[in-house]
Symmetry: C2
Subunit: 415 residues, 2 copies
């Protein structure tokens, strides 16, 4: 049905978009070559912390959790939390699980290591870092023949540069191909990435790429540049987005229930009917969309009166080895919740596979009229809904949003 144009990016300084004639159209020169380094998990550098210390620390965390910092204004949640105190207390003993339903899904299997490691110790930033990138693009089902209106580029310049542009499709009403502007914008950005004036600044890259673009049209756009010290600089105009997922802390011998997220010491339990998980990754950073009003995003345009690079939201986040970034067009973020992005990233060690899985998930949700998508939730919040008489019948606004879907996954590896 959809013809995915995904590819594990094996070359740098490459801009891509979907084409029916060529699986990945390259519009920039192959001036550099990079080798994709598969992220390997480093052993913990700190094996001297005793298991007793970890248990002690976790018990304290749980004890602290009980106090008033956690209480609610009403007895209802107090009761709910109170019900789980037995569960909290079980941390200090061999776990015997009384009040929690069984049959949890095993997401990540146990580590046999007996040492504890903080993230900073698991992922020491001792060396320079760079991105290992995978990409996947699925065009809007009605635009497969034209390849959709998203474009992206990936470069290995410095620690790595990734960018996505999403063409505004309304230009078709004026007989303008909406894909031309984002394609040219990405090609120009790809050419300019090493420009002296750009000087590793994604906002200046947007400025120069926009100035160099002569096609008619407009696009939302996001650019992220990784410095080798781990600082990721981001400039975004509109509703493309970027998320950063960091691995959870590891407490070997302790696991979290996939539903209740409580930490359990199950190392000496023989109750194999329990399936438990390690703590999964955490979302540590997210861009926010810019829009004039619901569904009318900021955009760079061929027209004079519109947004410019000065309207970009400019942020940065310090990344650690082992972190993963997910960048995409709104086709991803309107159809996939952040917790789904985190859980999907957790399941794939290969960046290209992760990008494909996320794009497929977004595509499936976008076609599902019953799915309560981020987009339909937001639409209801903003006052869009089914007519009153349908509400009375229990009908509510649901469904995903068909759109071009671009996903770029970048894993931070030592270079």
């Amino acid at each position: 049905m959809n013809a995915p144009a995904g590819n594990r990016t094996r070359v740098c300084t490459v801009a891509g978009y979907y084409s029916t004639t060529r699986p990945l159209v390259l519009v920039a020169s192959f001036t550099e070559l990079s080798v994709l380094v598969k992220r390997t998990r480093k052993p913990s550098r700190r094996g001297s912390i005793s298991r007793h210390q970890i248990q002690s620390q976790l018990r304290k965390c749980v004890v602290l959790e009980r106090e008033s910092k956690r209480e609610m204004a009403i007895p209802i949640l107090k009761a709910a939390i109170s019900d789980s105190h037995e569960f909290f207390n079980s941390l200090s003993h061999t776990t015997r699980l009384l009040s929690i339903p069984k049959k949890r899904r095993l997401i990540v299997s146990a580590s046999a290591s007996a040492s504890a490691s903080a993230p900073s110790e698991i992922n020491p930033l001792r060396s320079e870092v760079s991105f290992c990138v995978g990409t996947h693009l699925i065009p809007h089902p009605n635009k497969v023949d034209r390849g959709g209106e998203d474009a992206f580029f990936v470069s290995s310049y410095n620690g790595g540069v990734v960018a996505v542009a999403d063409g505004v499709s309304g230009w078709a009403e004026q007989n303008v191909d909406p894909s031309l502007f984002p394609k040219e914008l990405m090609a120009n950005a790809s050419d300019l990435v090493g420009d002296e004036e750009v000087n590793y600044d994604p906002q200046i890259l947007l400025k120069k790429a926009h100035t160099a673009t002569s096609s008619k049209g407009s696009a939302t756009v996001i650019v992220a540049m990784l410095e080798k010290n781990g600082v990721l600089k981001i400039a975004s105009v509109g509703d493309c987005g970027l998320r950063v997922i960091r691995k959870g802390k590891k407490y070997p011998g302790f696991f979290a229930c996939s539903t209740c997220k409580l930490l359990l010491d199950v190392s000496s339990s023989n109750d194999t009917t329990w399936e438990l998980i390690e703590l999964t990754g955490k979302l540590i950073f997210s861009t926010l969309p810019q829009e004039h009003y619901f569904d009318c995003p900021y955009q760079l345009s061929s027209e004079v009166i519109t947004q410019t690079y000065l309207d970009a939201t400019v942020t940065s986040v310090k990344l650690l080895e082992g972190d993963t970034i997910v960048m995409g067009s709104d086709g991803l973020f309107d159809n996939v919740f952040d917790h789904e992005i985190v859980s999907t990233i957790t399941q794939y060690s290969d960046a290209a596979e992760a990008a494909k899985a996320l794009a497929d998930l977004a595509s499936n949700h976008s076609m599902d009229s019953n799915f309560e998508s981020p987009y339909s939730l937001e639409a209801r919040t903003r006052g869009f809904d089914v007519p009153f008489w349908k509400k009375v019948l229990g009908v509510k606004l649901t469904g995903g949003k068909p759109d071009d879907i671009t996903v770029v996954v970048g894993q931070v590896v030592s270079s």
Copy 2:
């Protein structure tokens, strides 16, 4: 009931916490003095853009909005959007409002200026910037006598430094005053803010302040340092938070309906029964909480095995003159939604009044057992809820979370 300890911060290098004996306890020296500059709205620098151009641009935006980029997977929303096309089309004419309920609240009155200004032109970053800060602290209702367990500091060093620490109350079970650790941490941070080794780096400030703290206990903490070029550097461990609100674009003569958010040209309408608003501010940046699991945040501690400065999420965001930051303990963010923060900030030009309004709102929500708070929503998402038999009766988990509430509001002004 609660005894607020709010104050418009008129001095720099000052650390504060609530005390029943003194309204604001100063624990650092008054080595510097700063003048709070009230933000004044600068006139637009660009008066040459014709009204026709603005109308043309907005019409295009609306036209673009209709296309498939905006369609849903199901006919329901398509119908809903289709219903509003008349409304969109009305942009190109004198507005005659047919399908929208009347009686909108006037939030911001009209500007008489006929020129259009992009944010970058409204808020040009031509000069050095600094913070104009207002603070407000409301202790947990059960901890008023001890002054609560939050602490904060504000300094005018460089462009301004703001920080909040939230003591983990569970230490009281071990006969440790939970407020000692955050108070000493903030006092040390305040002393060290100009340290050569810190060198404007909030993560290093956390490291050195933590190392210097000898009290027993633990705390979540956030520090933000503004450079005079507008870059705000942030380091956070745990669930204190920071939001950045940027003023919306101004299109004089155009307004947004407070409910539907659609742009309207009402300049030639005599229908005074309509009360319309300008586009309000936008949330452009938000930190994300770090936690081991629900309600168990990362924290700096007097104990060895816990989080360190290395576990901080380190981010930055480029601010413009006119931007406002809201920093707070989880007592704010667990009880007040982001859209409420944005709308509250929009209503106050004075930073201290805005901080007080936000703290009061959080306090009121925290005591309201019927309020569907961010905390109760999150609790339900994480599997905490009322018992099954109550669910059958239509009861669900609601209510705010009583807690210490600290709010720091910083307005970016030219210095």
